[in-house]
């Protein structure tokens, strides 16, 4: 088992929490792990990306090689398209459909979603609506993680253990909201599929 994943989003969306959850889940299973993230200037409302790799065989590179990613998991639709050269021909793209338009020339959203729908394997989820159902817009990142579970190669209970461990020490209500967001994300794509 091996997964090479590109996480994409915008600063402040909770992308690094997703990376931490995946990392914890993979470590809990005794898998090899590499996780690479962007710090510093790039975080100020700009593009954020992280590479995460886990495998039952040794890993060497911190970065995913172009053309080999199994999954692009994106918290923002336009950002999901930025990394297409990394995605292997049979790879999947899972993205939130809610745009963050913090620049004047944001492209037409229908064009973006149309481009995503032309990919052989994709899931688009409106994470804002689902997150509100879960009780807080703050858990939109967990909704997208839930939507991506069919492609993660990790069991749902391993991911839930990862969520609990990353949010350990926080208010138990926050943990529950995040778990709810994650489960609703799982269901959202199950229904759609």
């Amino acid at each position: 088992m091996k997964r090479d994943i590109i996480l994409a989003g915008v600063g402040g969306q909770g992308l690094l929490s997703i990376a931490a959850i995946l990392g914890n889940a993979a470590l809990g299973l005794g898998l090899h792990l590499r996780q690479c993230e962007v710090h510093g200037m790039a975080q100020r409302g700009g593009v954020v990306q992280s590479h995460i790799r886990y495998s039952d065989a040794p890993l060497y590179s911190d970065l995913v090689r172009e053309g080999t990613a199994d999954l692009i998991l994106s918290l923002e639709p336009m950002e999901s398209l930025r990394y297409l050269p990394f995605l292997r021909p049979d790879g999947a793209l899972v993205t939130n459909s809610v745009p963050i338009k913090n620049m004047p020339d944001y492209p037409d959203l229908d064009r973006i979603l149309g481009e995503i729908r032309r990919l052989p394997r994709h899931r688009i989820v409106d994470a804002a609506i689902v997150a509100e159902q879960a009780g807080s817009l703050q858990c939109a990142n967990l909704v997208v993680l839930g939507a991506a579970t069919p492609f993660l190669g990790l069991a749902e209970d391993s991911l839930e253990a990862g969520i609990r461990s990353v949010f350990a020490g926080k208010d138990p209500r926050i943990v529950e909201t995040n778990l709810r967001g994650f489960r609703l994300g799982v269901e959202a794509v199950r229904r759609a599929a």
Binding site: G23, G40, G46, Y60, S61, L63, V64, R65, N102, E115
Partner: protein
């Protein structure tokens, strides 16, 4: 033995703590910040057993670490690559004096300039200083380096430079921790004279340092961080420095067909290089940063020299960090393609956070500049550099830490006025104060805006070393008290703030306007990080 998930930067810090570190000093800078932060968060620092407060700048960090090692303790200073420019003087001269306790200088280079203004390669500094350099390939090696390097430093009485690059500093992997070693006892040097670099003493010390080069080379030949890996296909030999070795293993499935010399310690292990040269007719050098090793191999052509390939010959791009893709290409492996690049995404530049005090200050500057044709804003390193971008577009320069005030002075001296400097509170403390003294001494006609958000914001909210003391510092340096003004950058104060800035621009001579409002990010977190108080405080 326990295993922890650590960034490369954190692994280095943990390795140092476990190797008996007594003090970690540094100034925040991406991608090095997490080294010192990890020490600050450790139980050892919280209990006061390890000192780890942020210093005013990188130079004071290296000097403090040198002082601690003079006292027999193990100490380190950590910084980003451009920080070593600031600390170059103590770094290079500490090699002449030598050390007493172990001394590590940890430098994180930023090839591809993710958060930097250049991609200088710190390995070149080790040639100037004539000191050894260790470049770990992965997180485990980053953890293992300090135990080895502190011993090396104490054995040879020499500072050791540890080089990280962005990807290792900022990537996590499980790291197996080793045993904990106690700190050194306090022991001042018995041969104290060597720390007095009078020319007569320095000449002798320099001769000794030259002689030591043989010892450093011998250590490199035997270093656990250098490794010769045989391969059946000798049509190519690969020299893979630092994390380049990971990429070679990755794209060859862990079993390269060619002989590979993994380099993690310099001076370059020449015997191992000879071994590769004797076997292969062509050599590919893979290294992050400058073509440092490549150019040295080119420098000694012999009759039977193999052909040297790398960044200079074009097999590897001349600039930017390596990637599995660029390494695979340089090795001549079959191309692997993903989906074509989409033309749809537009750039999403970083921007000031909503509610950022700098945004209000930039709007004040904007209106002041809009009312006049002339006027230049000399800015500095920090979040406010984003004042260069729309919708503000108010700054004209950003070169390096502290350059705002002194460049404004030079431009004003030349007759370009108004000359306005825009500098953050932490950058001012780092290297703006001396420039302000120059302005005072010449009564230079400059207006200095210190944007005081009371933290080092860009690197995540570390303690700013001149906090609460900016007015006293400016007045103490000789700025007239009437011309040290404090404003609160809020939208409701805009007109008033414009008026204050106009008044100070019209004052002939140096004036300082301190725009003080806490960073919105540290404010949201409720408190600035208490962890970095460090030490026994």
């Amino acid at each position: 033995m326990s295993t922890r998930l650590l960034l490369g930067a954190e692994a280095l810090a943990q390795g140092a703590i476990d190797a008996g570190l007594s003090g970690a000093f540094g100034y925040p800078g991406t991608p090095s910040t997490e080294i010192t932060e990890h020490v600050q968060r450790s139980p050892e620092a919280r209990s006061g057993a390890v000192r780890s407060r942020w210093t005013a700048n990188e130079k004071t960090a290296v000097e403090t670490a040198l002082g601690m090692c003079y006292a027999g303790k193990r100490a380190m200073a950590s910084m980003k690559h451009v920080g070593l420019n600031v600390a170059a003087d103590p770094f290079i001269n500490a090699a002449i004096s030598g050390t007493n306790g172990g001394l590590l200088i940890n430098v994180a280079d930023d090839p591809s300039m993710h958060s930097s203004q250049n991609e200088q390669d710190s390995r070149l500094y080790t040639e100037i200083a004539l000191v050894p350099c260790i470049e770990p390939a992965n997180q485990q090696e980053a953890y293992d380096v300090p135990a080895y390097a502190f011993c090396f430093s104490e054995r040879h009485r020499i500072p050791v430079l540890v080089r990280l690059t962005t990807r290792l500093a900022h990537s996590r992997a499980p790291v197996t921790l080793g045993p904990k070693r106690p700190q050194n006892e306090l022991s001042a040097p018995t041969d104290r004279e060597r720390f007095i670099l009078l020319p007569s003493i320095a000449r002798r010390s320099y001769e000794r340092l030259i002689l030591q080069q043989r010892d450093f080379l011998r250590e490199s030949e035997e270093s656990p961080f250098n490794r010769f890996v045989e391969g059946p296909d000798t049509s190519l030999g690969v020299i893979a420095c630092g994390i380049a070795y990971n990429y070679v293993l990755e794209v060859t499935g862990g079993a390269p067909r060619f002989p590979v010399l993994k380099v993690g310690q310099y001076p370059l292990p020449l015997a191992a290089v000879e071994r590769l040269f004797a076997r292969c007719s062509e050599i590919l050098v893979l290294e992050e940063g400058y073509p440092y090793v490549e150019s040295r191999l080119l420098g000694s052509p012999r009759r039977s020299s193999p052909i040297i390939r790398g960044r200079l010959s074009g097999e590897v791009p001349r600039t930017g960090e390596l990637s599995p893709q660029s390494v695979a290409r340089a090795l001549g492996l079959p191309a692997v393609h993903g989906f074509p690049t989409s033309a749809t995404p537009v750039s999403r530049p970083p921007s000031l956070c909503p509610g950022c005090p700098h945004a209000d200050t930039c709007r004040v500057l904007h209106d002041v500049l809009a009312s006049r044709r002339t006027g230049h804003v000399f800015s500095d390193i920090g979040c406010y550099t984003l004042g260069a971008l729309p919708p503000y577009g108010v700054i004209d320069t950003c070169i390096e830490m502290g350059a705002s005030i002194t460049m404004a002075k030079g431009a004003s001296d030349a007759g370009l006025r108004p000359a306005i400097a825009l500098i953050g509170d932490s950058t001012f403390a780092h290297s703006g104060m001396t420039g302000l003294l120059d302005c005072v001494n010449e009564n230079s006609d400059v207006t200095i805006v210190i944007v005081d958000n009371s933290t080092v914001a860009m690197t995540g909210g570390q303690t700013s070393s001149a906090e609460h003391r900016l007015v006293a510092i400016c007045e103490g340096l000789g700025v007239l008290p009437d011309h040290v003004r404090v404003i609160e950058p809020l939208p409701g104060h805009h007109a008033e703030n414009v008026a204050v800035l106009e008044e100070e621009i019209s004052h002939v001579g140096p004036s300082v306007v301190i725009a003080r409002r806490e960073c919105i990010q540290t404010l949201k977190r409720g408190a600035r990080r208490p962890a970095d108080k460090g030490g026994a405080e």
